[in-house]
C-alpha cells in the first residue's frame, strides 16, 4: 500500500519542470495543506497547523502539470508519501515528499476548462 495519501491544498511555489538523464519528464512544486478544525465553543471553523510537501510528478502527468498548474491555485493531490532524512556536513535535513499518481484543480474553488492531450497510459 505504501502510505497512499490524498491531500487538498494550495500550490505554494512556481512549477519546476525538468527531464531526467534517461529522458523522463518531471515536474515538482510545494504544496501547503492547512488543517481546519471546528471550534465548538465559538461555533466557527478555524485554521490549524499547515503541512508542507514537495510534490513530484513524472511523464504525462508532469507535462500537464507544467502547462496547467500555477502558484496560488487550489489542487487535489493523490500519491505516495515519502519522508526522508539525511545528514550532510554535520547538519540534518529532511524532506516530506508526495510522489503523485494524480493531480487536479479543486473545483470547490473555481472552474476549469479541460482539454484531453494524452492517452494517459504510463
Amino acid at each position: 500500500m505504501n502510505d497512499l495519501i490524498t491531500v487538498r491544498g494550495f500550490v505554494a511555489s512556481e512549477i519546476t519542470s525538468s527531464t531526467t538523464p534517461g529522458g523522463t519528464g518531471t515536474s515538482s512544486f510545494r504544496l501547503g495543506s492547512t488543517e481546519r478544525r471546528f471550534d465548538r465553543k465559538n461555533n466557527i471553523w478555524v485554521d490549524g497547523n499547515t503541512n508542507w510537501f514537495t510534490v513530484q510528478a513524472f511523464r504525462y502527468l508532469a507535462g500537464n502539470i507544467g502547462c496547467s498548474v500555477k502558484k496560488g491555485q487550489r489542487v487535489i493531490v493523490v500519491g505516495r508519501l515519502k519522508l526522508r532524512q539525511w545528514e550532510h556536513e554535520g547538519k540534518f535535513y529532511h524532506a516530506s515528499e508526495i510522489v503523485a499518481e494524480a493531480v487536479g484543480h479543486d473545483l470547490m474553488w473555481g472552474s476549469a476548462n479541460f482539454i484531453r492531450t494524452t492517452s494517459g497510459t504510463n
Copy 2:
C-alpha cells in the same frame, strides 16, 4: 471517518444540476472506475472490474462542476461512500453514492485552464 474514499475514474453521464427546496445548488453524475491489474505472466496491465458510483456535490462545488465537467472526462473524486438499499413494490434497489468533498480533472490525461470563482468556504 465515515468511509472516505478517493476514486480516479471517467465521467459516464451528462451533469445533472438542480436546486433543493431550501435553495442549495446540487450537481450529480455517474462515475466509472476500472480496476487495472498487472498481469505478470504476460507482463502487461489489463482491465478488471468497473465500479460504478453516483457522485453528488453541493453548493460551490456543485456550481463549478456544472460549468467545468463533461461526459467522458477523467476526474479525481474525494468523498464519503454511501451504499444504500431499499425495497419498493416488491423489488429491491441499491445505490452506490459518493458525497463529494472535492472533484478535479485528472491531469494525467489532459491539461486544464483553472479560473478561481469562489472563496471556497462552505
Copy 3:
C-alpha cells in the same frame, strides 16, 4: 490505485473460511459501517446510514482472521472496493465487496493480545 478504502466497522456475521481448488485459504465476513454525524443544532453525535460490505481475505490474513475475529467485534479493514452487479433468471443482484489487504481489531473499543504466527509475506 484501484479504489483503496479504509473502513472502521463491526463484524456482522460469523467468519466463513474455505480453501480454493488451487489450495489458497480464504476467509470472509459481513462488515457494517455506520455513519456518525455531528448534529450542531442539538450538539450531539447521531447515527446515519450503514454501509454493508462483504470482506474477503486470502492466505495468511485469511487464516489469522479465522482464528481471531468474532461476530460483534469492532475492526479496521483496509482494502480494494469492488462493486459488482449481475443478472440471473431475470433478477438483478449486486455485491459490495472489499478485497482486504489488512484487517485488525479496533483498539478504540477493547484490548488485544497479539501473537505473531507468520512471516507476513504473500
Copy 4:
C-alpha cells in the same frame, strides 16, 4: 479532510503513556513503514525507503494501546498526518506525527485475542 492517512507498519519503540494536566490519557509510539516495490527486472519485491512517524492517541484508544501494543509488532494506524517544524537556539527541528483515530494489530502477521473493554465513544 485534514490529510487522513492509513499506514501499515511496525512499532519501533516501547509505548509511552501519560496523562495531560486536564486528565486525558495519552499514548505514543514510533512507527516505521517500509516501502515495498516490485522489481520487474528480477521479478521480486524489494524494500525501499522507510517512513518514520510518531503516533499519538488519546482517551480509550490510548488506554487500550498501552495494554495491548508492544515494540516489534505489526499494526494498522488510521489518523491525521501532522508535519511540524520549529527552530530552537539556532537549530531546526521537525516532527512527523499521526494523531490516531484507530489502531489495530495487522492480522496479516499474527493472531489476536480481543476483549471489549469500553463503549468506544469519545
